[in-house]
């Protein structure tokens, strides 16, 4: 029964992402929201950190938060998935439980 991990802080400022990756199950998903969306940028140390998770097709980013921060699609790592608030709600149903990391 996989978990959806919700990360809301920048991995350049906080350790939420690193801790999440340490204790997450391989079937789990991650959604990056708010300041965490900077994790989307390709060719960065963070992109390297989440590379394997992206390959599983379970790395999601909240599109309105990317747009608000001016992050363009061409600068994003390939294989990530963009969702709006409706998609976010659907993910919380697809996965069995959620865990927020700040």
């Amino acid at each position: 029964m996989p978990t959806l991990h919700i990360i809301n802080t920048s991995p350049n400022m906080r350790t939420a992402l690193q801790s999440c990756l340490r204790v997450m199950h391989e079937d789990d998903g991650i959604i990056f929201i708010e300041d965490a969306v900077i994790s989307v940028k390709k060719d960065t140390p963070i992109a390297e950190l989440i590379k394997e998770k992206i390959l599983t097709g379970k790395c999601f980013f909240l599109k309105p938060d990317l747009e608000a921060r001016g992050i363009k699609e061409e600068s994003m790592t390939q294989g990530i998935k963009l969702v709006d608030y409706n998609g976010f709600v659907k993910l919380t149903i697809e996965f069995y439980r959620t865990q927020t990391w700040s």
Partner: protein
């Protein structure tokens, strides 16, 4: 599906309350049930009734009040967290102060409990 949402952060200093409100709106539009929105930690400051943000900014508290009125929501602030922060009698429209016991009942009735912030 039945949801409980927890809002842990104060409005404005953090985006969490905005995101939670948009998430709540989306789940209601999809026909799901929102059993309770529970405000904890500094999240209880979302219930302050005399907030007046500048005209070119969004009104976080009013957004919650509107959502509550349109959907007959339970916006519950934790009474002990509120007391500690001086949030007491006059609350914004739609908000009520109640115990962790009220929250515990919402947990009982919910399929998903989603936290925003802290």
């Amino acid at each position: 599906m039945k949801f409980t949402i927890i809002v842990n952060n104060a409005p404005y200093l953090s985006q969490s309350s905005d995101t939670a409100c948009k998430f709540a709106q989306a789940l209601l539009e999809q026909g799901h049930e929102l059993v309770q929105v529970f405000f904890y930690f500094d999240g209880v400051l979302n219930a302050l009734d005399n907030s007046e943000p500048p005209q070119d900014d969004r009104d976080v508290i009013e957004n919650w009040s509107k959502l509550a009125e349109e959907n007959e929501l339970d916006l519950i602030i934790c009474s002990s967290a509120a007391l500690r922060r001086g949030v007491s009698d006059k609350l914004a429209v739609g908000f009520k102060s109640d115990s962790l016991g009220r929250f515990s009942k919402a947990v009982t009735l919910s399929d998903r409990v989603i936290s925003f912030g802290t």
